[in-house]
Structures are given as structure tokens and as C-alpha cells.
Point group: C2
Amino acid sequence: MRARVEQDAKGRRQVVEACLEPCAIEKGMRIIGGKWTGSILWHLKDGPVRFNDLSRMIGGASKKMITERLRQLESQGLVRREVLDTAPVSVQYEITDFGATALGFLNELRLWSEGLPQSMVRDE
Amino acid sequence: MRARVEQDAKGRRQVVEACLEPCAIEKGMRIIGGKWTGSILWHLKDGPVRFNDLSRMIGGASKKMITERLRQLESQGLVRREVLDTAPVSVQYEITDFGATALGFLNELRLWSEGLPQSMVRDE
DNA sequence: CAGAATCCAACCGGATACTG
DNA sequence: CAGTATCCGGTTGGATTCTG
């Protein structure tokens, strides 16, 4: 449901169907748009990955961040956490079927992003 | 270019092809993943919209935010700003051809987001 | 290995008031 | 109308240290 602007009989402009609070785009972004969230999900697409491997894959993110985002993704049902009884203990993270439904979008974003002009590469 | 984990001849695990700093997913997110950014772009998809209309469409965002994001989108070439010489002055924002290349995955995000279970609707 | 705990500066972003 | 300016509390997220 999108917002629209129309004119009434007297020519006054007004917004019809205002986006009632966060529209779909915004809601989605709040779920997978968080810092590192998309990357984490993406790196799980080929199968389970262990914590430290994951944090190495995602250069620039601290373990603290990885943990926080993983917990969030887990509580939302996008990712599953599994403890393996090895010594020392190791933990696997795996994308769920539900989480996988976001991969299509992420892939499109990736393609778009890779085609971007150099000039847009974030300095930071 | 994705990161991969492999095992060497001695069975030790190691990360091959680590994501050199922000991978494509992350870079993309930094551009259109900002708060309100996606929504703004999306609401421009059907043609030029004026500032106040835009801010009404995007419920919950302050004018300050809208302005900041628009400036950012403009400097990145995703949006074009045009001042109309009316009285009082009015300003139009329009998506550029380049900006429009992002509409594809924004739409996917929208579809994904709309299909989400109620339980995931952010309380905030 | 896989975190949890703590600290803290930086930034974010809403509210409010003002302007040409 | 389309912003700008200022204030300011809250959150973010990196660095670092510690643990079972």
C-alpha cells in the first residue's frame, strides 16, 4: 500500500493513503538492514559456518557485533544455532528455510552493489 | 567474491578469500540501508514528489531526516533536486536513471517484507 | 573456541523553534 | 513551502579484558 498525493475539487493538494508508520520497505530494512546483518545471512547461504570462521569472513565486524546480530537473527527465526559437543566446544550457525527467503533480495542487492562506480566506494 | 573456509592437508581449517572489508552486500546496505533511505527512494518511483508531500508520505520520519537523506541521495546521484519558481517556492525530488536501478531489489524487499508473519512486526 | 562483560566516545535522530 | 539551527538524550558499536 503506497502513499499517494491527489488534488481535491478546489485544487488543494493532499496526501491520500499515507504510509501508516514504517511502510514495507522500512520494516524489511529494520530486519535485514542492520549493520552486518545482511552480510552474516549471506555468508551462511552455502551451509553451516562456525562462529570464529564467520567473524573472520566478515572483515571489519567485531565479535561483539557478530554475536549481537546472530542472537537477533536467531530470535527472529532466520538463523539456527547449534552447539556441537567437541572439545573445545564449537558452535555452528545455519540459515533457516525462512531465512533463506531473504537470499533472493540479498543477491539482487549484491549484484547492484558490485556494479557500482568506483567513485561511490565508501572511504570510511 | 565470497569468503570460503577450507581445510588444508593437515586438516586445519582456514578462511580462504576473506571478505576484504565490507563485502558487496555491506557496501550496498550502506547506501540504501540507512534509516528512511529506501522508503524515500521507493516513494519517488512514480514521478517527482515535493518535499512536504514526501515527508507526509513517510510517516514517522522528521523533516530533518528527510532532508539529510535527500541530500545524501542527491550527492550520490540517486535523486535529483529541482526548484520550481512558484510562490512560495516549491521543490521537487525525482529519482534519476541511476537511482531507478535500485528499484528492482527494493521491490523484492517490499514483497518479502509484506509476507512476514505478524509476530515480526516491530513494536518500537 | 565461543562468547560475556565493561567502558565509553561518537553518532544518530527526535523535538522544537526559527527563517526567507 | 522548504527547509536550517540548536539542543540533547539515547543508542551504537569499537576496544579491551576476562571466562568456561
